[in-house]
């Protein structure tokens, strides 16, 4: 089966001046929740809008649900929740879902059946017949998700779905996303809220300045950064001297870092420290969060010291 989204070399130049996308390669597999991350101006929304034919690309190769990007008929099988959406104020929640369902080509009978179902799914069933002008931002966001799902799409693109939603609502939206995935659908989420994405995404892509810097599952992306950390009481220089012969071990701020996932490899470090009467306070398996991966990717672009990059902090390598 083809990928849900498989694009290569997507470029967008605005008015011949602003290079918003500089050759984006991205692949979203069917049935997964895919997170698109990046700082403001990275080109995430531009990429999503290109996929949804809202913006025309300067250059684009690839497919969405097996059809070339820009193929209008394919959009009948795609749902979209835009960022900062503005639905007509004179419509009720049910009317909005019905209207966009009709535009998506969903037959009337099916719409009638699914409107209630979708609004219930996002927790808006009680307010189905209330005009949207009376909704809070979170409620509008929920209705937006319902309209994106009314046509029972195979692929749903959500641009900042938890924007303006309270913590309880965010959890509800995460649950909805999981439900959608459990039904075999593909979800692409574009968000700044990294902790939210971390909880639901199977794979992520990190975009910086119009390019995808990293892409893969959270396991794949964190794998090079996983390590054990042994904290101790004592000065770093003495500890570094003791551990100098051990490959890859570094010492910084009372912590000896061992780049491994194998607990057997940390035993010699503990033994060595204890043999020198250094008190071991604790041992923990460290796996970087999505936020740290993101900050790394962004920080690389900004240069050392420009951003909150762990590599830019003072780092003392253990030397032999």
């Amino acid at each position: 089966m083809t990928a849900a989204i498989d694009v290569q070399q997507v470029e967008k130049m605005y008015r011949g001046k602003i290079h918003a996308l500089r050759g984006v390669d991205m692949r979203v597999e069917r049935g997964e929740v895919f997170g698109l991350l990046g700082p403001n101006g990275a080109g995430k929304s531009t990429l999503v809008k290109i996929l949804m034919t809202v913006i025309s690309p300067t250059k684009c190769q690839g497919t969405m649900l097996g059809k070339p990007i820009g193929h209008k008929a394919t959009l009948a099988n795609v749902g979209y929740l835009p960022e900062h959406h503005r639905f007509p104020e004179y419509l009720t929640g049910a009317q909005i879902v019905d209207y966009f369902g009709a535009l998506a080509g969903t037959p009337r009978a099916e719409r009638k059946r699914r409107i209630g179902e979708m609004l219930d799914l996002v927790g808006m069933g009680r307010w189905a017949d209330t005009k949207i002008k009376q909704y809070s931002k979170g409620m509008r966001q929920r209705v937006g998700i319902a309209q994106a799902m009314i046509n029972d799409p195979d692929l749903i693109l959500m641009d900042e779905p938890t924007d303006g939603v309270d913590p309880v609502g965010r959890k509800d939206i995460r649950d909805v996303v999981r439900t959608i995935r459990d039904r075999g659908k593909t979800v692409l989420i574009n968000s700044h809220l990294l902790s939210e994405l971390e909880m639901v995404c199977d794979r992520v892509a990190i975009m910086v300045q119009g390019e995808v810097r990293q892409q893969g599952s959270l396991d794949d992306l964190t794998e090079p950064h996983r390590r054990y950390e042994v904290s101790f009481v004592g000065d770093d220089q003495s500890a570094a001297a003791l551990l100098a012969g051990m490959e890859g071990v570094s010492v910084e701020a009372g912590i000896a870092s061992i780049p491994t996932e194998d607990p057997n490899r940390i035993q010699p470090v503990i033994d060595c420290l204890r043999a020198s009467q250094i008190v071991v306070k604790g041992v923990r398996a460290y796996r970087p969060s999505l936020e740290q991966l993101f900050l790394d990717a962004v920080g690389e672009d900004s240069g050392p010291g420009a951003g909150p990059n762990k590599h830019s902090r003072m780092h003392m390598e253990a030397r032999p």
Partner: protein, 386 residues
């Protein structure tokens, strides 16, 4: 799917207009206008409003009830209500249609549906026209009944007002849509459209004046020619009479011509040189006036002809003979008005010139203008990144 999407857009447009209330306000006002017109009447004493006599020097001996109500329809219902007030209300109601559609946050959801931008644009454009069309159908139905019941004439031709006024509205609406797409502002597009309309109104007024001036010049030329011909005929009869009596004829045989006379006829009728001079002046004036009249005509050809489009209905409903009856007798024109714009003959001729402009020119070139404007709109809408 096409029908479903089109239906959804029309339903949404209806809901939008319904929410704005202006749709129903205009509809109620249209019904009120018909009701007020129904209260007008004409009898042998004059014009009445309910049971009051109005001081107008017109009665049913001069014009029939049919012509009276047709005139009320064309001058008040059509000329004032539909082409001014209802049109302005319709422009106000529809001004936000495209700026709202392309507003950030709105357009993304619509464009992400399986529907081409061209079809989306044209469907949305049609919804604006349907708004006006519904108002027109209601108004014309009311007046149709009014004419049938009060004017005792059933005029299905009155329903021609629907396509004609719709065409007139569409010329302005297309400009409003273009301005809405360019400025993205409801207020700016509305105000600039009204300004454009004012420009067209000015152009129409200038055209009407220049056509009247040109008609007056032609009449003056014809009058001068006729007057000269009369004086020459008088002179010829005088010469014949003198010849019959055997009197000496100036300029013949050895008889000298009096000073200032160029020939025998001028010698016997000293008015001939003055009339010839008047004729020359009238001939000289025509090319100058024709230049400006032609320039205005070219400008009008390129732009939508709002005035003439509406006049098409009057042409259809009121015959030339009925128009003559409405304009009154033109034979007893005061002398000071002869050959001027106020000369009823000039007014009638100007009316004839405007009425005789072909439907192809009136509608064809106006629709061509609209097509070009819509083409630009489509190009902007289809190619823009939102």
């Amino acid at each position: 799917m096409i029908l479903m999407q089109t239906g959804a857009i029309f339903l949404d447009a209806y809901r939008e207009l319904n929410a704005k209330k202006l749709f129903w306000i205009t509809m109620v006002l249209s019904a009120l206008v018909v009701l007020v017109c129904a209260m007008l009447g004409i009898n042998k004493q004059g014009i009445t409003f309910l049971w009051f006599e109005l001081p107008f020097p017109v009665n049913s001996d001069m014009i029939s009830p049919k012509l009276f109500y047709l005139t009320v329809f064309t001058s008040f219902g059509l000329g004032l209500w539909l082409t001014w007030i209802a049109t302005i209300l319709a422009l106000v109601s529809t001004a936000g249609m495209f700026p709202d559609l392309i507003a950030s946050g709105s357009i993304e959801t619509v464009l992400s549906k399986p529907m081409s931008r061209t079809r989306l644009f044209l469907t949305k454009y049609l919804t604006g026209l349907v708004f006006m069309g519904m108002q027109l159908v209601v108004f014309c139905s009311g007046f149709f009944l009014l004419l049938g019941i009060r004017g005792e004439t059933w005029q299905p031709g009155l329903f021609l007002a629907v396509p004609i006024v719709l065409a007139f509205f569409s010329f302005l609406f297309s400009v409003q849509v273009l301005l809405g797409l360019v400025t993205k502002s409801t207020i700016a597009s509305l105000l600039l459209t009204l300004l454009f309309w004012l420009g067209l109104f000015g152009l129409n007024a200038a055209d009407a004046i220049l056509v009247s001036v040109r008609a007056a010049s032609e009449i003056r030329l014809e009058d001068a020619q006729e007057s000269l011909d009369n004086q020459i005929a008088i002179a010829e009869r005088t010469v014949d009479r003198m010849r019959g009596k055997g009197e000496p004829i100036p300029g013949e045989a050895d008889e000298p011509l009096p000073e200032g006379a160029a020939n025998t006829l001028e010698a016997v009728n000293e008015r001939i040189p003055r009339r010839a001079e008047s004729l020359q002046e009238a001939q000289d004036a025509i090319p100058k006036r024709r230049v400006w009249s032609d320039r205005i005509f070219i400008a009008k050809t390129l732009l939508p002809k709002t005035g003439e489009t509406i006049a098409l209905l009057e042409r259809n409903l009121i015959s030339d003979e009925e128009l003559d009856a409405l304009m009154g007798d033109t034979t007893d024109t005061p002398e000071q008005f002869l050959g001027t714009m106020n000369d009823p003959r000039a007014q009638r001729r100007a009316q004839d010139i405007i009425r005789k402009r072909s439907i192809t020119w009136v509608l064809g070139t106006s629709l061509a203008f609209e097509a070009i404007v819509l083409g630009i709109c489509l190009m902007l809408f289809a190619r823009r990144d939102f």
